[in-house]
């Protein structure tokens, strides 16, 4: 395929794969596994190529793809620039292990798992790439429709119940989304994001408030998806009910909401400060508080994991709410590391949950409350963990370190990147600008502490003192995804310098939206395209 069309490949590859697999029964497990894996590996390659291409400094900063070969404001455009290609890469890198993990036993738990999984990727990738507001809505719907199906995957009462709430809340959010699009269109007469941004600059009269209301509605819809308190109550039950690999890929879903928010908020105003930045910051901070409470209160690992997703949403919102390129770059570092870590976390939890019943989680807390010091003779000889448990234990420990933000793993580096840029060089005394960074810093420390308390309790109970002897039957297809993500995290540490440069460049692009606009408006349809019959 010639490079021009590479931009659309992240959408078409999973779509074609998903559609093609519908021809086969679910019992053709091997074929579907191979096809799906091929598709996802293809996505990894394409996303990598795109990231390299966009960051290589050759040619325009963004690859713009005009669908149907219509001219710019008319055509639906896909825009592969730094941020969207980065998100594509993270998605692909998370999807690969999730899929591999699912092939081991989850794929058989319900019909059409493989196709739904591919369609979910279609939606996510499309949402990242599109430069058109209504098209964004369409891809959100693709994503949500597929996620409804995947959430229900495996059946059972908790999934159906939380899935029902998930559907309900998200449908209302979609309605709000649609209202927002209508308002924006009414005010600007366009659906193309770049065109909207351009027209917003010179908007007169009542159009301005209409546009603002429209964007506020869009923001609200995105905040529902991102899980901001109090709109994110659906998230924890849904994510903690989902099957392991599904929960892992769902980690990316909440990031789509944040991505859309970031894109839109920075695209509309022209002075570099994101639209509604204050709301984002306050909402993010409150979400962090809620997530801290939730992490502390969580009994099961899955629930804790879901609250960690909320925590990362809150952190990202608060960070992006500061609306400074350097902090945004730190936020992107955080986004990547927390996404990969949470994905792996859900794998481990899934394997562990298979081995235990929920009772042991409850015992862990009550034992702590009432003490369980049985007077057994203390034995001063170490014990050896079985290999499978040791892998899980080490993996759990490392991921806990990422989630808490302990060094030297990326969670720590991300928090450092956020905080050092949030404070900036402190020269002035009692600078009011330090209030928000200080709040963020406090919450980051607190969230780390909450994570430390909860994860150390869970880890100790699970690996050091299991209620029933732990001997998980863990296969290579379940181990490999965990190790893969851990390896990525380690690479992120070693190559933190170049990674940070990439995030910085991305954030700079984001905060200077003229680069985006210039790239879009410079795009030309392929010449003599309409010669066909006209």
């Amino acid at each position: 395929m010639i490079p021009v069309h590479l931009v659309i490949a992240p959408i078409l590859i999973p779509l074609a794969t998903g559609a093609f697999m519908l021809f086969f029964e679910d019992r053709e497990h091997r074929l579907k596994t191979i096809l799906s894996l091929a598709s996802v590996i293809g996505l990894v390659i394409v996303a990598t190529l795109l990231v390299i291409r966009v960051n290589s400094g050759e040619g325009p900063a963004a690859l713009v793809y005009l669908l149907g070969n219509w001219p710019v404001p008319v055509a639906i455009d896909l825009v592969g620039e730094r941020l969207s290609t980065l998100m594509l890469l993270v998605t692909a890198l998370l999807a690969l292990p999730a899929l591999l993990f699912a092939t081991d036993r989850w794929q058989g738990a319900g019909p059409h798992f493989y196709s739904l999984f591919q369609f979910l990727l279609v939606g996510i990738n499309g949402a990242f790439l599109t430069g058109d507001l209504f098209n964004l809505f369409v891809f959100f719907e693709v994503m949500l429709a597929a996620s409804y199906g995947l959430l229900l995957h495996g059946g059972g009462l908790p999934r159906v119940r939380s899935g029902m709430h998930y559907v309900g809340v998200n449908l209302v959010a979609s309605l709000v989304f649609l209202v927002g699009i209508a308002m924006v269109y009414a005010a600007s007469g366009s659906l193309n994001m770049a065109e909207i941004a351009l027209r917003a600059e010179s908007m007169q009269g009542f159009d301005r408030p209409v546009l603002n209301v429209g964007i506020a509605m869009l923001g609200l819809a995105f905040l529902v998806k991102a899980g901001m308190w109090p709109l994110g109550n659906w998230l924890v039950p849904a994510y903690s009910a989902a099957a392991g690999p599904v929960a892992a890929i769902f980690v990316m879903l909440s990031k789509v909401g944040i991505y859309a928010l970031l894109r839109l908020a920075l695209l509309v105003p022209s002075d570099g400060i994101a639209f509604g930045a204050r709301v984002m910051f306050i909402g993010g901070a409150i979400t962090m508080v809620i997530a801290i409470i939730g992490v502390l209160a969580a009994q099961s690992m899955k629930r804790a994991g879901a609250y960690f997703i909320l925590m990362s949403s809150g952190t990202l919102l608060a960070t992006f709410g500061l609306s400074r390129p350097e902090t945004t770059a730190g936020g992107l570092f955080y986004l990547v590391s927390s996404t990969l870590a949470l994905g792996a976390f859900f794998f481990i939890v899934d394997v562990l949950d298979r081995e235990r019943d929920g009772a042991s989680d409850v015992i862990a807390v009550t034992a702590e409350a009432y003490g369980d010091r049985e007077d057994v003779a203390e034995e001063e000889v170490g014990s050896l963990m079985p290999g499978g448990v040791a892998i899980l234990a080490v993996g759990f420990g490392l991921l806990a370190m990422v989630l808490i933000g302990l060094p030297p793993l990326p969670g720590f580096l991300a928090k450092f990147a956020i905080l050092t840029s949030a404070f900036g060089p402190i020269t002035e005394a009692n600078d009011p600008a330090i209030v928000r960074p200080a709040i963020l810093a406090g919450l980051l420390v607190l969230s780390g502490f909450a994570g430390l308390l909860t994860l150390s309790r869970m880890g100790i109970r699970t690996f050091w003192q299991p209620v029933e002897p732990l001997s998980p039957r863990i296969t290579i297809r379940e181990t490999a995804p965990i190790l893969f993500l851990l390896a990525l995290l380690v690479i992120l540490v070693i190559r933190a310098g170049p990674a940070m440069d990439l995030f910085r460049a991305t954030a700079e692009d984001l905060h200077h939206q003229t680069r985006y606009l210039d790239a879009v408006f410079a795009a030309e349809p392929a010449p003599s395209a309409r010669d066909g019959g006209r």
Binding site: M1, I2, L12, L15, A19, Y65, L67, G68, N69, G110, H112, F119, V122, F134, N135, A145, Y148, G149, L152, H165, G168, V169, A182, M183, Y185, A186, G189, S190, L191, E195, F206, D207, P209, V210, V213, G219, L220, L231, N233, V236, I293, L296, E368, E378, V381, G382, L384, P407, L419, G424, I426, A429, F449, L452, L453, T454, S456, F463, G497, G533
Partner: protein, 969 residues
Amino acid sequence: MRDGSLLLVLILLPFVGAVLAALLRPNARNTEAWLAGSVAGGGLLVTLFAYPQVSDGGVIRYVIPWIPSLGLSVTLRMDGFAWMFSLLITGIGLLVVLYARYYMSPQDPVARFYALLLTFMGAMLGVVLSGNLILLAVFWELTSIVSFLLIGYWHQNESARAGARMALTITGAGGLFLFLGLILLGRIAGTYDLDGVLKAGDVIRAHPLYSTVLVLVLAGALTKSAQFPFHFWLPNAMAAPTPVSAYLHSATMVKAGVFLLARFWPVLSGTPEWFTIVGIAGLSTLLLGAYFAIFQQDIKGLLAYSTISHLGLITALLSFGSPLAAVAAIFHMANHATFKASLFMAAGIIDHETGTRDMRKLSGLFRFMPYTATLAMVASAAMAGVPLLNGFLSKEMFFSEALEEHHETILDTIAPYVAVAAGAFAVAYSARFIYSVFFGPKPTDLPHMPHEPPRWMRFPVELLVVICVLVGVVPNLTIGPFLRSAVISVLGPDTPAYSLSVWHGVNLPLIMSIASILGGLALYWFLRRELKIDADGAPGMRGIDGQRVFERILVAVSWRGARIAESWLTTTRLQPQLRLVVALAVLAGAWAMAGSWHLVPPVNLHGLDPVLGALWAVGMVCSVAAAWSARDHRLSALILVGGTGLVTCMSFIWLSAPDLAVTQLLVEIVTTALILLGLRWLPKREGLPPRKLDLMARYRRGRDLLIAVLAGTGLAGLAYFAMLMPRPPSVGDYYLEHAYVDGGGTNVVNVILVDFRGFDTAFEIVVLAIVALSVFALLRRFRPAEDNLDRPFQQQEQDANDEVRRDREVGDTLKDYMLVPSVIMRWMFPAISLFAAYLFLRGHDLPGGGFAAGVTLAIGFLLQYLAGGARWVEERLRILPVRWIAVGLLFSIGTGLGAILFGYPYLTSWFQYVEIPFIGKMPAASVLVFDLGIFWLVVGAIVLVLVAIAHQSLRTRTRRSAAERQEAA
């Protein structure tokens, strides 16, 4: 290797060793010990080798960039002070490895132990060698984590788990604060480089955020060094294997806190805040630690509290802010490390050889292990500060510094008294340890018969004790130059003149020393009987189990409190969530409108057509009525919703949008029919209690009504005013102009759908496909509620009627009750199919298109299912909806890809008019193929949902008959 790469070797060695150790066979204890020993020994050699470069204020640096844009680099930096610590870490590390070889049980799988020990060594070296603040934080937290794993090494023991968790919680949390403090420090100084920060002391102390930074940094240092009130984790950490305690809790980990204080002493000290916080912490820890130590029954407990007390002493010295005190502090760090490590090892030997560490059980061990006893006695004497031993020298310096005036506060005044009292306590607990363990009658009921330990297990103790004595007797010949290098590197030009000689003449500090020794011995003499039989812990503190208190607080705050807060702040119910979304949408709208209300154009109701108005009134009534009756009368609610849909449909016609009207109508039909089919399986509503409207319910409804009205009118009003505005030039104009010229269709709506915005359509149908698949997946697992298993009331009625009548068999009525409609419906199928084809073909120019055609054909199938039942239809038609969906999707993808083959972007259209026999001139556009894909997919998706619902009745029937059979049998 005269450059800094020496440092790289030093820091990498332990980590590489740890990896190797982890890879070895778990039980290869000799290999493990040799490996760990050579790593530590190698480190020691490298350290010694580096000395010439750091003596007299020299600094070695080695920089590897990490995140240059954030000022974070792997900067390794060794000066005299760091060198002293490196020597302690590697030297004592080597001894501990040797000791552990004999201490750990042969059955113990020690690979993990040595791997962790070496990792710890590396982390600790990292702390002292960091030349970058953030790198320091990295290694700092790493020591916390590894110490957690080491304390919990015997994790089958409850005390090990609890102790490990407590240590992690306290030191880890402290580390988080320290991290924040270091960031602020670096931000104020303008660099994270340690050298830069050390130079910026004046700027930092004058900065308004100084006290914030100080508190944060101290939170890290004081927790790590187990200073009051964070001291309680250290005694609980004694659950660790004794080699770990000897290493971490005497020489290294706890020293990290005071190391940090000394490291930043030039930057942070000398202010009243520093003196107050650090001084209070240091002096109280010094006194309380020594006091508690007297009353411990576990030897390791005694040593732990003694360690706390000695760390307090160092902290107190650092708090004074005078250079001489800092010299004493640095000196005491080294001294304490030597005598305390040897004492921990001796305690381990006693434990190892007798099986207990309880001083109530131990007695008269001198006769069994005279050699070890002598060593322990010398080390204890150093701990107590007896002359001619190293502990005496630094304590003497402490006494003289305590006497000096530093800041005129009460703290300064009481310092000498605290010093003497703590000194007396130290003598008392040292005496107690010696006397109760080694003297007195022969021990009874010991688990093992005591004897001397193996030769090489004792060697580390011997060596350390020899050092204690040498330093104590000839300080200037032994530690003198090294101490000088360390002091210069911390104090720089402020380095005071000091003397390390043993004899300073009769002065006040000497008198204080004598007083504390005599007082301590007297104190022990008075307490000795009670101590022998007493319970564990200091008087007045026995009822308070620090660990339990800690855990209770944790549970109360972190868990119970959090659960209550969680239940308050979040909800798992759907209704409040939906209400929140709508309410916040109203608020968000109002917020976005803020300041723009004056721009609202005047209301203009001219031109409102009464007929349209009436139509809309009907629609509104329908929708409100539907909501009203949804709870109890589902069928009527559904019909009313249909009414709203029809009004919408008519509005489209009114506004000249026939395409939308057709689509709306067809979609209305098919959704209503599908929901009708599903109603049967919903839980029954008969027998529900009548609605009770108490006050709360009224309030809730009123509130919800308010939100609904606000949202509705707000949206309607906004839409209305927006439409009153002059229309901005929009993309719609382009569509109108170019639909025929460039899109080849006169039906602009269709051209928009399949060409201009064909990409949207392509994925809208994907949504439809996914929804159908999901519904199928959901309903495949669905089992209706018990009360729905019976056949509908009407069918039962008919069967009962049949049974009564003589001329009819049971089931006769039901068999053909829909005879006439079903015949009509069956015959309708070809007509509907033809109509679908018609809609499809005319789509590009006139209302219709693939979507409408697909829905139409699906309605045809739906009617067949209604007429004949699922079984009848599927016996006659090949219903393969999933395959149809797949075909549809591939058609749509294929059309798009076709353009790519010709070098144009995805979905670029191509068209030409062609003559088709009988039909006439047809626009043969590529979009027609695309539309065909839409058509197939729509049919497939709707039929798939239909099948999913229709198969419910089949499945229930089989289940029921199975149940009946079972009953009969």
